[in-house]
Amino acid sequence: MSTKGYKCPCCGGNLVFSSDTQKLECPSCGNKVSVNAIRQYAEIVESTDGRGDTYEWEEGSSENPIQWKVKEDGTKVYTCPSCGGEVEADETTVSTTCPYCDSPVILPEQVSGEFKPDLIIPFMLDEGAAKEAYKKFCKGKKLLPKAFQFENRIKEVKGVYVPFWLFSCQAEGTMVFDAQKTKKWKDSSYEYTRDDYYLLYREGEMSFEHVPVDGSTEMDDAYMESIEPFDIGKAEQFQEGYLSGFEAMKFDLSKEECRGRAEERIKKTLEDALMKSVKRHQYTDVTVKSRSISCTKGRIKYALLPVWLLNLKYKDRIYHFAVNGQTGKVTGELPVDKGMFCKYALSVFAGSSLLIYIIMILFLL
């Protein structure tokens, strides 16, 4: 399998996608090239490179045509297009960086054919902005250990294009409820109770656009759903150039495997809307008798969505955080300082008890 690295047309430096300018930038000479321009440039260069010189040499004397090999542990080894170093990658890697020369390495075969994404949301936040979003996330967390908060414990920050399946459909649903109204009144002789039994029928339809489901087993679904929503309206048609400088993965969960989760969420939203249309305060009791949902005009797209992953080490444990590369929304699990917890609990308990006691003395005594 071949590898690809975008080079600066001026100085030959490695081009990296910039989230600020939404262009490929050369860190060496500062040259900026649009994604479309570099694609055309690469195509021309590759076509001319393909023709090359026509010296007739004996086959087999050139480089080994197999550019990747599989190690015993299952990881694949690629050749860096810049330095020729061995770049290890797993089955789903689409884009990575060379550990020797830090050059971006894109594996075009991983995003071609059935693996070619329909859409991509380019990174809108750079690494600094992602760190800033994380710091903001930590602010105001009273139980967070101070050592965790102030020390530079961020061990790894990487921008990753995560594969998502986007499900769009027209959902139609029906729900039937058993409802009961009870009315009580009395006159001078009797106390009356009247129970009216109703059958409530609700039918509705709703359109959904681009419900995302994480298509990677490596990514935690809870983390990926927590950093939603992604604004798919700002997605671009996929081009390999957006991957340069970031890691990217291809899906390893098929759309058939992921559609269940999308259907679950769509069903919940539609059912909530149908149930909300029943004015429960008008009835003494409402129970669901039956329900059914059907989705039509279903469309599925494959997209790479930007996520910053931060790994922090604290007391021999790695804490993972994910930042939405488009909106900056952060999710994760922060450690709890037990001493701080006890201190706060006692303070709140003592303070609230004293305040309540004073209020009781003032108003009840």
């Binding site: 139980l143 359109s207 939603e228 149908l274 952060v330 706060y344 609990a345 709140v348 003592a350 609230s352």
Partner: protein, 377 residues
């Protein structure tokens, strides 16, 4: 000499004025001294001397035990046209009543018109309900007076009166201890009634305590000493545990909230944010009434008088009265006499039945408020 004479006149004038002023201040006190007033005024000469003595003894016992003045009056011709006004007037103008509120009850029998009337005053208004007063008056009038048994009638009246006051005071003491007394009467009378109950109990206790050493001192003990007894539920110590429990709940909720904020990685429940905003959900509704079930349960409703023109005090009747379900809950109606005093009371004739559930309030000629009963016999 002339000037000295004028000075002396002036001094005498001022001295006389001071004496008058002093007398004015003293007069009501003297008048209110119930010890000097006759409790049995038999102007119609219906009672023998022995009966008068016996009734006076009974009255003194009630006065001592319950600190409520009790007066019996008979007459052949009354001054007021209305017998209730006459009873109120007799109570007010003669200065009957014990204590600051002039607690007392006067039973008037008018032989000329064949009517009777009972007038209550002060805290006694709350001790005797309309039903009680009517019951007392009607029992004496129909059971005894109509047969000419006035002595026995008054004796029966006094015994029943003592029983009713006793049961009412027991009820008030119980309600106060349970803190469940429901009062919708005007606050002043109720408060004074409660105070009276407390002071009566206190006085009663004191009487019991001092009885072994000096009975006469206990008997002559007037007026009642009001003792403010601290109420246990209002002790600040009692609020500590509830405050701690509430504090614990608040701190548990608060800590749970900030603990949960430490973890934000949760799965989404729905796909609300991915609904197409331009095409809102179209929901069709249908509601079908399947069946209706009507049940009716017979109820026994207690009769209640709901007149709102009078302030009332509701309470549970004593066990004796509970036999008559109609009077399980009763009330005391208050009226103002011409002298501006508040009275309870009822009246009736010896032959005519009066409504038992309410008390008519009226004002006596001197402006005192009275309730009462009168009747013919």
């Amino acid at each position: 000499m002339m000037e000295e004479g004028q000075k002396m006149k002036r001094i005498r004038f001022f001295a006389a004025a001071l004496v008058c002023l002093f007398m004015v201040n003293i007069m009501p006190v003297t008048a209110s001294d119930e010890v000097n007033l006759p409790k049995v005024v038999d102007n119609a000469e219906l009672l023998t001397e022995e009966e008068e003595a016996e009734l006076t003894g009974l009255i003194n016992t009630i006065v001592t035990e319950y600190e409520t003045d009790v007066v019996l009056v008979t007459e052949n011709q009354r001054q007021e046209t209305d017998i209730q006004a006459e009873a109120d007037m007799l109570f007010d103008s003669n200065g009957y009543g014990i204590g600051e509120e002039k607690d007392g009850v006067l039973f008037l029998v008018d032989m000329g018109a064949g009517e009777w009337s009972i007038s209550t005053h002060g805290n006694t208004i709350n001790l005797l309900t309309d039903y009680d007063i009517n019951s007392l008056g009607e029992t004496a009038a129909r059971g005894y007076f109509s047969n000419g048994k006035f002595g026995a009638g008054f004796k029966n009246y006094l015994e029943s009166l003592a029983t009713k006051i006793e049961s009412r005071k027991d009820y008030l003491a119980q309600s106060q201890s349970e803190g469940e007394e429901s009062t919708d009467a005007y606050a002043g009378n109720n408060q004074s009634a409660d105070n009276q109950t407390e002071s009566s109990q206190t006085a009663g206790n004191q009487t019991e305590d001092s009885a072994p050493s000096d009975n006469s001192e206990a008997v002559n003990k007037t007026p009642p000493v009001r003792v403010e007894t601290p109420k246990e539920p209002k002790s600040p110590v009692k609020y500590i545990i509830p405050a701690l429990i509430l504090g614990l709940i608040i701190s548990a909720v608060y800590m749970a909230v900030i603990w949960l904020k430490m973890k934000t990685a949760y799965k989404q429940e729905n796909a609300d944010v991915y609904k197409c905003k331009d095409t809102s959900a179209r929901i069709r509704k249908n509601e079908v009434l399947l069946t209706s079930d009507l049940r009716k349960v017979p109820i026994i409703q207690e009769s209640r008088d709901t007149q709102e023109n009078y302030s009332t005090t509701r309470y549970q009747e004593s066990s004796k009265h509970q036999k008559q379900s109609k009077y399980k809950e009763s009330r005391t109606t208050v009226h103002t006499s011409r002298s501006g005093e508040k009275h309870g009371g009822a009246s009736g004739s010896f032959t005519q039945e009066k409504p038992k559930e309410s008390t008519t309030v009226h004002t006596s000629r001197n402006g005192e408020k009275h309730g009462g009963g009168s009747g013919k016999f």
